[in-house]
């Protein structure tokens, strides 16, 4: 099965932008669920297109859509037929995801109905180009953007520019994305062209909707050699004209849909079969088409019919497509032709009210005291007015004349009252000329970066102090990532050891001192329990966000999201017990609303890892372009330090899921990797790192003081990470830095000790619980400082003292060496070819971080060096012959 929401929100897609094209848009569902999942996965640029008639209807639910036009845009599209695609496109810098199917953005489409979806993924790391479907989808979106406001065009442009891989050579896999609709060939013609002249023997169709005369089905049947179609429908919900069914006779054989979903989950009275499928049997192959298109005339036959997006592919193998999808049961069940003959066509209005207006108002963007109007598809009569209201059912709050703006578009000059949410164009006599549209605000076109600080950054930075830093971080996270997922889990007792390991140790652990079972701590020592009790200390967000939330938000657009259902928990428990006449099993709180399930926690763990990876990558990217960067803002460095604080707090922290299973928030190795990567990027090598890009005047101001404190904490984390990586054999290194943490740490210490005096170890067991005994870090601190001294001394003089050197002719990988170009570094490889070139690690360089030299390499004698690493690590580290690129790692 395909979990669409999971695919949209798992964070692994690394998507900055989402573009959703849907026929139906259920605003509460988009706002409350889809948008939140996308946002919590870091998707900051959200665009939605939907059919205008559905859009107008949905504006009735505007009270449930507090973010529309602010954190996402919705553009209504008007077509002669229905604008019917269901496309979910995620675009990130190195990854992309495309879901095409039959499900709209509704409870049914994403949660309840029998829908079919297909997935396309792109990941730059796999080294294959993007599927052509991405290109087709993006072209489609760019066309839609032509009918959108400037703001939406900007969103689309940004989305595409943030995904440079879209321009790479495509990688085909047999699937073809087809789009039908205005200005395009009829979809059935496009499908036929894929047959390459083959004539299918028969066809199986699954469809939720048909044209009254069943012309499309007839056409499909005529295209087969047997002249018949087997059609699977849900008799109770499908709209058919019994006379047309009768007329077609045996040309169409009707079968009831037998839900292939697991039986125990089938008792759902509201389930609708909304999937669309055409399988054309060509003997040893089937041409399969799935997506948004029903087997109806507007979807398949009319050139100016519905706008549809489908995927077609050839399929062969031991199991037919119907067997694969579990539809065989439907085809084995007795036919329902006779039942359907009795059906009466519900000649209802299709609700396409938006089509009736003289013009389409696609957007109304509020800029201060004027509203930019995007009016497409129709003429605006003279003396037209813009009427703005609170909701579709309320009388206008105010009106203003619509006139041509300087740029040729339309605008209205007026101040939009705070309660106004929607606008429409009307004649001076009050006759509606356009559809309603929800206001859009410029902020939707300026999405905050994944980690941008925005206007409150300075204040937050000033407030960032040791001890309160986590609260500050989370305040900021909540403020800027409104959808930051709050994952509630119970603390799982002792933090640092895994349960099994701990239990294995029990026999050797002496008994606990009796006095530790008692305390004289009073009420003032006890925080938050009055509200959430022992659950106040859950995980990162629960433990630290909750006290801030208890302060309670001001009413406003966020009010709904501040609502907290936790207080109702005991009601639920009591009612369950009462329902069983007082019997209690201790299982009543299993559906806990505060504690996350194992699944949710694991997802949160994945997201955290993904955030840390992105965070490290962003500072590494900055380092790689440091020659072009004029300066780095203090807030950018602070951002990394905040992430470090969060990660440090969560390292090896165990939480209990609602199923009482222990979940580790963040693996110690992941934390160590992250810290070393950040430290390397901050300090760099001989040519310095990102830290050197901070404007010197910053250090004199309050920001500098705050940064100093943060760097002092990072210093401690760096020592811990070095110790950890050294003590735990790094067989699975992800970056070269993990193989030489000592060198990275020494470089980092050399860079920061002129800024901050000493590593910050205050209350370190709470802030970095994974470090265990802080005393154990002291030895590492001394060694690291000694190496830092050595690096500074040698690089200042430009050469090492004689007594510390020896010829590097016989040096082994892992040796500490000096070269005038890269300073003190590590020998990674010694090639016997190329006149014995030395491959040295250059900590100032990006990918790949190696440079080759033929001479001038001197080995340094220092305690603990050379580092011994396994052949496996060496294999990972040593650059392959094709990695060095021209101009990047030239042999000197």
């Amino acid at each position: 099965v395909i979990d669409v929401l999971e695919h949209l929100g798992d964070g692994r897609s690394g998507a900055d932008s989402s573009i959703i094209i849907t026929y139906e848009l259920d605003l509460p569902i988009y706002e409350g669920w889809v948008r939140r999942r996308l946002s919590s996965a870091g998707t900051v640029n959200q665009v939605v297109f939907c059919d205008v008639s559905v859009y107008e209807r949905e504006l009735g639910a505007l009270s449930s859509a507090r973010h529309i036009g602010k954190s996402y845009s919705v553009t209504p599209i008007r077509r002669a037929g229905a604008f019917h695609p269901k496309v979910y496109l995620l675009l990130g810098r190195t990854r992309g995801r495309l879901l095409v199917g039959s499900g709209n953005v509704t409870v049914g489409g994403l949660l309840r109905n029998a829908e079919l979806f297909g997935l396309f993924d792109y990941d730059r790391e796999k080294g294959l180009g993007p599927h052509p479907a991405f290109g087709v989808a993006v072209d489609f979106v760019q066309n839609l953007a032509q009918e959108s406001s400037e703001l939406v065009k900007k969103q689309i442009t940004r989305a595409v520019s943030w995904a440079p891989w879209l321009r790479e050579a495509p990688n085909v896999d047999g699937r073809t994305l087809l789009i039908g609709g205005e200005g395009r060939p009829a979809l059935l013609n496009q499908i036929s062209s894929l047959l390459n002249g083959k004539r299918p023997r028969s066809a199986v169709v699954l469809s939720a909707s048909f044209d009254r005369r069943l012309v499309a089905l007839k056409k499909l049947a005529e295209g087969t050699s047997e002249g018949r179609v087997r059609c699977i429908v849900q008799a109770s919900s499908v709209d058919l004209d019994g006379k047309a069914v009768e007329r077609l006779g045996k040309t169409v054989q009707w079968y009831p849909f037998v839900d292939p979903y697991p039986k125990e989950k089938k008792r759902r009275k509201d389930v609708r079969v909304h999937a669309k499928l055409i399988a054309l049997d060509c003997g040893d192959q089937e041409l399969v088409i799935y997506g948004s298109a029903n087997s109806s005339r507007p979807a398949l036959l009319d050139e100016d019919g519905n706008t549809e997006v489908v995927v077609a592919f050839w399929h062969s193998g031991p199991r037919s497509i119907c067997e694969y999808l579990g539809l065989q049961e439907s085809l084995r069940t007795a036919r329902i032709d006779r039942e359907l003959v009795k059906k009466v066509w519900r000649a209802e209005d299709d609700g396409r009210a938006g089509g009736a207006h003289e013009c389409l108002l696609a957007g109304a963007v509020v800029y201060g005291r004027h509203v930019d109007l995007t009016i497409v598809d129709g003429e605006v009569e003279r003396n037209a007015m813009l009427a703005i209201s609170e909701s579709v059912n309320r009388p206008p709050l105010t009106t203003a004349a619509v006139h041509r703006g300087d740029a040729g578009g339309f605008e209205a000059r007026l101040s939009v009252p705070p309660e106004a949410r929607i606008a429409r164009v009307m004649s001076s006599a009050g006759r509606p000329l356009s559809n309603f549209v929800a206001f859009t605000w410029p902020e939707v076109g300026e999405p905050r970066g994944r980690s941008g600080l925005g206007s409150r950054g300075e204040a937050a930075l000033a407030a960032m102090q040791d001890g309160v830093v986590l609260g500050t971080v989370l305040f900021e996270l909540l403020n800027y990532y409104r959808d930051f997922e709050v994952v509630m889990a119970r603390p799982a007792g002792k933090q640092r050891e895994h349960l099994k390991a701990r239990e294995a140790e029990v026999a050797e652990v002496p008994g606990r001192a009796v006095e530790t079972f008692y305390t004289d701590a009073g009420a003032e020592m006890h925080k938050g329990e009055a509200w959430v009790g022992d659950r106040a200390d859950l995980d990162l967000l629960a433990a630290l966000v909750q006290p801030l939330r208890v302060g309670l938000a001001t009413r406003g657009q966020e009010a709904e999201e501040e609502e907290d259902d936790s207080a109702i928990e005991e009601e639920a428990e009591r009612r369950q017990i009462d329902a069983r006449r007082g019997q209690a099993t201790g299982d009543e709180r299993r559906e806990s609303i505060r504690f996350a399930s194992r699944e949710s926690l694991e997802r949160a763990v994945r997201r955290l890892a993904s955030r840390l990876t992105r965070s490290a990558r962003s500072i590494e990217d900055t380092l790689s372009i440091r020659d072009k960067v004029v300066g780095v803002r203090a807030s950018s460095i602070a951002r990394q330090i905040w992430m470090t604080h969060i990660a440090a707090f969560l390292g090896e922290r165990l939480v209990l899921s609602s199923e009482n299973e222990e979940i580790r928030c963040l693996d110690a190795r992941m934390l160590a990797h992250y810290v070393i990567r950040v430290c390397r990027a901050l300090s760099g090598g001989k040519d310095a790192g990102v830290l050197s890009l901070v404007p010197p005047e910053t250090w004199a101001g309050p920001d500098g003081e705050v940064l100093r404190r943060g760097l002092a904490f990072l210093w401690t984390c760096c020592l811990w990470a070095t110790a950890y990586l050294r003590q735990n054999t790094p067989e699975e290194i992800g970056t070269p830095w993990e193989a030489v943490p000592e060198l990275v740490a020494a470089r980092f210490v050399a860079a920061v000790r002129s800024i901050c005096q000493a590593p910050d170890q205050q209350d370190i067991t709470r802030r970095l619980p994974v470090c265990g005994d802080p005393e154990s870090l002291r030895a590492w601190g001394r060694n690291t400082s000694r190496l830092a001294d050595l690096i500074v001394a040698i690089e200042t003089k430009g050469k090492p003292p004689q007594e510390l050197t020896r010829e590097a002719v016989d040096s082994e990988p892992g040796a500490l060496v000096f070269h005038p170009s890269v300073g003190v570094t590590v020998l990674v490889d010694r090639e016997r070819r190329f006149q014995g070139a030395y491959t040295l690690l250059d900590l100032s360089k990006g990918d790949p971080p190696f440079r080759k030299f033929l001479g001038q390499v001197i080995e340094l004698r220092a305690e603990g060096w050379p580092i011994a690493w396994s052949s496996h690590v060496q294999g990972v580290l040593v650059p392959k012959p094709d990695i060095p690129k021209k101009g990047r790692a030239g042999v000197k």
């Binding site: 029998a114 652990v509 530790t516 008692y518 305390t519 009420a523 999201e561 209690a584 201790g586």
Partner: protein, 563 residues
């Protein structure tokens, strides 16, 4: 075009909802009531029924600490704890099954299993098998209780913390709570002094017992057996009533004060009414709301108690509004079940249905068909205060109207439900205008009003803002925004936050489809009053006579007399 290989198809069925549950509070309003009663009775919950557990669990922890040497791991603690808790349940069950007069083991954790086991056993009962963890440290399927820390983990841990008996262990050791020296240990030692509990420990550690021995033990240790005048009783009384700065130093000032006043108000109510027959919680809520005890008798209270009564009144008004809106939701869902309607059509239907007249034994303008404007609706439904004083149960009192509403739900009379719900709302709005302040000065009210969108003050303010609007338009919008879309929003929030699907309907191509087989019945919340009553009874401030009526004891009367 290349072809795909079988079994590796890049498309599939949509994953449908994995965690569909019945859920509760489908409009997200009960939670407001729960927040208010939570602030009014801190330290108790709806599932902390017995006072003795406030001494029993500290004692268990104390005994574990004193056992030599206490093992520092989770498994050792849980094994110890569970064996003792299950032995306690078995003793209480055995006593109950001895058929002695008054023997009962109500609200004893694990007693259902214990009853079954004792019923099956001939003479000896195994106290280990059903309490033990499995080899991996998990709770086996047939265990006496699913929560690893039994009733402590499931019900009492947080309340014991609020009363200052336990504190969270900052070192994250097992057990994860420490006993406070000033309260927890003192209470635990008060059980140490009782031979029954020493015997209980012996029995639990031996792992088995004779049923007759257990019954004798149960008589001594069961939750109703707190000895009058004992240290245990004195300490628990003082903890609940917030008496004694040293003992109560672990309690926050505000929660100590609020619980004290609420419990005194409960005692005052029962004392003033002499005998309270029927369901105590119900009587108390209505008395607070109407500040009236009985026909012709207003309820005279000191200013401190009056403020708390007004806070309870705010709770009751909010809960009643919630009930009325849940009733409108119920009507709307039944309409959805009848066919395919858009949200607006459903709202229009409910609005139209609600306007019609209703009948009561006495004439009242509110029973007539509702007029054109919102202001008319509120005006005709008003007039409670004088009437309540005359007779809180008069045919047109709000309590009677609420009863009519409940009856209409029971009879599945959709029109009656819609009409009475709207009248109850009208009466509440009208009452809200005359209340001194919505929360009776309760701090939590301000926070709740800021955080939650739908509550009684918001309803009143909405009606005031739209006083000149057409009533049916107002009501249509109310049903759309506060009932239909509100449900979608609340269910979506639960889906996003908790991963559970509680949708009762869903839009499909513009129309609403019923998702559930069972339309949720409107409910009131349980404001911890039942538990407060039982705890006060366990502590001998109240007693329940043979007819089931509650009366105050001499000790209870003394508490009220105290300044």
């Amino acid at each position: 075009m290349a072809e795909t290989r079988n079994e590796d198809l890049p498309f599939d069925w949509l994953q449908r909802d994995k965690h569909a549950i019945e859920g509760l509070d489908h409009l997200g309003i009960e939670v407001v009531s729960a927040n208010i009663y939570g602030a009014l009775l801190p330290g108790l919950t709806n599932v902390t029924d017995r006072a003795r557990y406030y001494s029993f669990y500290p004692w268990v922890l104390h005994r574990y600490a004193q056992s030599a040497p206490p093992a520092p791991d989770r498994k050792a603690w849980l094994t110890w704890f569970r064996q003792l808790e299950y032995s306690y349940a078995a003793a209480c069950a055995a006593w109950e099954m001895s058929d002695k007069t008054g023997a009962h083991a109500t609200a004893v954790v694990g007693v259902d299993t214990a009853r079954r086991e004792i019923g099956r056993a001939r003479s000896k009962v195994d106290l280990q098998a059903l309490a033990a963890l499995d080899a991996s440290g998990k709770i086996p399927a047939k265990a006496y209780f699913k929560n690893p820390e039994g009733g402590l983990g499931q019900y009492y841990k947080v309340p014991l913390g609020i009363l200052g008996l336990l504190r969270k262990d900052e070192q994250h050791r097992f057990p994860d709570r420490q006993l406070t020296l000033y309260a927890g240990r003192r209470v635990a030692e008060s059980l140490d002094a009782q031979p029954g509990f020493s015997r209980l420990l012996d029995v639990a550690m031996s792992g088995h017992a004779d049923i007759s021995d257990l019954a004798k033990l149960g008589e001594k240790v069961n939750p109703s057996a707190i000895v009058a005048g004992s240290d245990e009783e004195r300490l628990l009384r003082n903890l609940f009533l917030g008496e004694g700065d040293d003992l109560c130093q672990g309690q926050r000032g505000s929660s100590r004060q609020q619980r004290r006043v609420s419990l005194r108000l409960v005692l005052e109510f029962i004392a003033d009414r002499k005998r309270v027959k029927g369901e105590f919680a119900q009587e108390f809520r209505w008395a607070c709301m109407q500040v009236a005890l009985a026909p012709g008798r207003s309820w005279k209270l000191t200013s401190e108690l009056k403020q708390t009564a007004l806070a309870w009144s705010a709770y009751q008004r909010n809960d009643l509004m919630n009930y009325a809106l849940e009733c409108l939701f119920w009507v709307a869902l039944r309409r959805v079940d009848e066919g395919l309607f858009t949200p607006s059509e459903v709202a229009r239907y409910v609005a139209a249905l609600s306007r019609g007249s209703v009948k009561t034994a006495e004439k009242h303008p509110g029973t007539q068909a509702i007029g054109q404007r919102v202001s008319e609706w509120v005006a005709v439904c008003g007039g409670e205060s004088a009437e309540a004083l005359r007779d809180p149960m008069a045919p047109n009192s709000i309590r009677s109207w609420a009863d009519q509403l409940e009856r209409a739900v029971t009879k599945e009379d959709d029109a009656g439900v819609a009409r009475w719900a709207i009248r109850v709302c009208g009466r509440l709005i009208s009452a809200e205008e005359s209340m001194p302040s919505s929360g009776g000065g309760l701090e939590v009210w301000g926070a709740v009003a800021k955080t939650y969108e739908v509550h009684i003050a918001a309803l009143a303010s909405r009606a005031a803002r739209r006083a000149a609007d057409v009533f049916t338009t107002f009501l249509e919008e109310l049903v759309l925004e506060w009932v239909l879309y509100r449900h979608l929003r609340v269910a979506t929030r639960k889906l996003a936050g908790q991963g559970v699907s509680t949708f009762k309907f869903r839009p499909e191509q513009g129309a609403l489809l019923l998702v559930t087989d069972k339309i949720p019945i409107p409910t009131y919340t349980n404001p911890r009053l039942r538990q407060a009553h039982r705890i006060l009874t366990d502590l001998h401030y109240l007693y329940v006579d043979e007819t089931g009526a509650s009366q105050i004891t001499a000790d209870g009367a003394a508490v009220i007399r105290k300044p």
